[in-house]
């Protein structure tokens, strides 16, 4: 036991050393020219379903923000929250994409197309950088919506790409989540 603990401690120090060296080596090496174009995604989960959010569609990732509910608001509108003086309307991403309603709404992103719109979801799984060759037209998910025309496959997990601009356009065109033409 003690030997295992010692081994684990030694492994941890080795890991820390490797991390340090790798971090330092990045700045010591010459800049890498990317041959293949790739996109960055946020791997998230809405309920139990995996999704991907394109970095270009979001303005920031946040966690643990306090959302103040508004009386008489539609079901997809969770409420409002504040970002350094800006009021942001927070929508339930699960309700917008037609998936299950999110349970915790712990994580939230601000959309790049309109920084006043925030989308809350259950879980942030990490950052994913995928080559564009791995972005495929899925033709929509079963029972899907027009927001999911593309999907990215990461670690054998197919993640539909949420088209945030379309969602924001839908919200705006509907004058609110309840007036959206697609029913959101």
């Amino acid at each position: 036991m003690s030997l295992d603990a010692a081994g684990t401690a030694a492994g941890t120090s080795v890991l820390a050393k490797a991390l340090r060296e790798e971090f330092d080596s990045v700045f010591a090496r010459a800049p890498v020219v990317e041959v293949d174009a790739s996109d960055d995604f946020l791997a998230i989960r809405v309920g139990e379903d995996p999704y991907a959010l394109l970095f270009a569609d979001i303005a920031g990732l946040y966690v643990g923000k306090t959302v103040t509910a508004l009386p008489g608001s539609p079901p997809a509108l969770l409420g409002v929250t504040g970002f350094r003086g800006d009021v942001v309307a927070v929508f339930d991403l699960g309700a917008l994409v037609g998936a299950a309603v999110c349970r915790s709404h712990r994580w939230m992103v601000r959309t790049a197309v309109d920084a006043r719109v925030g989308l809350a979801f259950d879980q942030f799984e990490g950052h994913v950088r995928a080559p564009r060759a791995r972005v495929a037209d899925e033709g929509g998910l079963p029972g899907g919506r027009g927001d999911h025309r593309y999907a990215v496959t990461v670690a054998d997990v197919v993640r539909p790409i949420v088209r945030i601009p379309d969602l924001v356009d839908g919200i705006k065109s509907a004058g609110g989540p309840a007036q959206r033409s697609d029913g959101l």
Partner: protein, 491 residues
């Protein structure tokens, strides 16, 4: 109780009593009969014969007085007168006596008549005597005598003769009566004697029958018993011989037992020595157990220390988990910052590309930190689980140590008991040794007693032979007795 159940002696006594009673009855009857006969004879002798004798005496006195009177008349001698007076007095005395004793009916008138005629005769005689005194001639006197005295005399003689005849008849009658009485007495006595003889014969027959029955039965039983006694004596002699043989075997066995007892005594002595050594070993084991118990107590203490350390390790692991939560949160925040930086760098265009590289590396670091944090959390969970398992195992070990300690205490107690028991065994072995020695002494005494018993058995055999001979003699004697009692039924 019936007569059949009487003993023979009692029956003989009863028979003798009956015979004695009959003899007494015969004697009494004989005495009564003899008394009556004697009384009858006495009456014949004393009354009838006396009256007859008195009658004869009266006649003799009268004849003597008459002779004296005739003598005087013839001789004139006065002495005859005196004698005549004396004879007259005797005559009157006898007559008076007869009158007093007169019993028959005709006796008293005859005596009265004789008295009157005697007086008349005396008066007549006195007249003649007076003539003689006056000197009258003899012839005259004789004539006067014949005329005056003889008729009276003849009448008086006739009365006296009649009296004698009457008395003779009475005497004969009394004699006949006495003879009849004696004959009756003889008849009664003879009859009673015959009855007594018959009874005696019947009693004798009954006694003889009872004698045959009882004594014969007793003789048969004695004979049977003597035969059985012979058989028993024979068996006793055989048993005595077998007993003598058995006694010899017992004596041999007792000798072997004596040798065995001595061996047991030696073995008990060795057992006592071994028990002493075992007691020492038990005490040594007890000390060793005490030391082991002390070691176990130390182990228990060390186990407690280990448990404390493990619990502290669990607490530390929990604290590490808390720190790791902070690190995880920091990694998460770092990741968020890196992502947001990347987003911001992407928005900055070409100017933000280098910053995007830094942010990306920071994000990678944050990812790696998050992954490492997960691994550490997993390791910590493993450590906590291992700590819990260790604590549980240590608790189990502690309980096992407690149980072992208790078992050691039991073992120590058992060693103590073993030592005590070994001491008891030692003491018992010594007692066995002492008892075995005493037993050897007792066995020797038993051997001597067995020898005495064997000698007594030989004497018993001799006695049995004597008993056999005595029983044989008793058989012969019973047969002889049976011959005496019932010759035709001799066994």
């Amino acid at each position: 109780m019936t007569v059949r159940r009487w003993t023979f002696g009692r029956r003989i006594a009863a028979a003798f009593a009956v015979m004695v009673a009959l003899t007494v009855v015969v004697g009494v009857i004989s005495v009564v009969a003899l008394d009556r006969v004697v009384a009858s004879k006495d009456r014949v002798i004393n009354v009838n014969s006396r009256v007859l004798i008195d009658a004869q005496t009266l006649s003799a006195d009268f004849e003597a007085k008459s002779s004296d009177a005739r003598g005087y008349l013839l001789t004139g001698d006065k002495s005859y007168l005196a004698q005549m007076t004396s004879e007259l007095q005797a005559f009157q005395s006898t007559l008076a006596s007869m009158e007093r004793n007169a019993g028959a009916a005709n006796e008293l008138p005859l005596l009265t008549s004789i008295g009157q005629e005697s007086n008349a005769h005396q008066q007549a005689l006195d007249g003649v005597i007076a003539l003689r005194e006056r000197g009258v001639a003899i012839a005259t006197v004789a004539k006067a005598y014949t005329a005056q005295v003889n008729p009276v005399r003849a009448k008086l003689v006739a009365d006296i003769s009649a009296l004698s005849a009457s008395e003779n008849r009475l005497l004969a009658k009394a004699q006949q009566s006495s003879t009849n009485s004696a004959s009756a007495a003889v008849g009664i006595i003879v009859a009673i004697a015959i009855i007594t003889a018959l009874i005696a014969t019947a009693l004798g027959f009954a006694l003889a029958r009872a004698l045959r029955r009882q004594i014969g039965k007793a003789v048969a039983e004695v004979n049977s018993s003597s035969v059985e006694l012979q058989a028993t004596a024979n068996q006793q002699a055989t048993s005595a011989r077998e007993q003598s043989t058995a006694m010899n075997e017992i004596s041999t066995t007792i000798s072997e037992l004596l040798a065995t007892s001595r061996q047991i005594a030696e073995s008990a002595q060795r057992v006592a020595q071994i028990a002493g050594q075992t007691a020492n070993a038990g005490r040594s084991g007890e000390q060793t157990i005490a030391k082991a118990q002390a070691y176990i107590t130390d182990v228990r203490r060390q186990v407690d220390v280990i448990v404390d350390h493990m619990l502290a390790l669990g607490d530390k692991s929990q604290q590490i988990g808390g720190v790791l939560d902070i690190v995880t949160e920091l990694a998460e925040q770092t990741n968020i910052l890196a992502i947001n930086s990347t987003i911001e760098a992407a928005g900055a265009g070409e100017a933000g590309k280098r910053f995007a590289v830094v942010a990306d590396e920071i994000r990678k670091l944050a990812d790696r930190v998050a992954g490492s944090t997960k691994e550490i959390r997993g390791l910590i969970d493993v450590v906590r689980s291992a700590v819990n398992t260790t604590v549980m195992a240590t608790e189990i070990g502690s309980k096992a140590v407690d149980a072992g300690n208790e078992q050691f205490a039991n073992v120590a107690s058992a060693f103590g008991e073993i030592a005590d028991l070994v001491d008891t065994t030692n003491e018992a072995a010594r007692e066995i040794e002492l008892s075995t020695k005493q037993q050897s002494t007792a066995v020797e005494q038993v051997n001597a007693a067995i020898s005495d018993v064997a000698q007594s058995t030989n004497e018993t055999e001799v006695g049995s032979r004597q008993t056999f001979e005595t029983a044989s003699q008793l058989t012969t004697l019973s047969r002889e007795l049976g011959l005496l009692v019932e010759p035709q039924a001799v066994v």
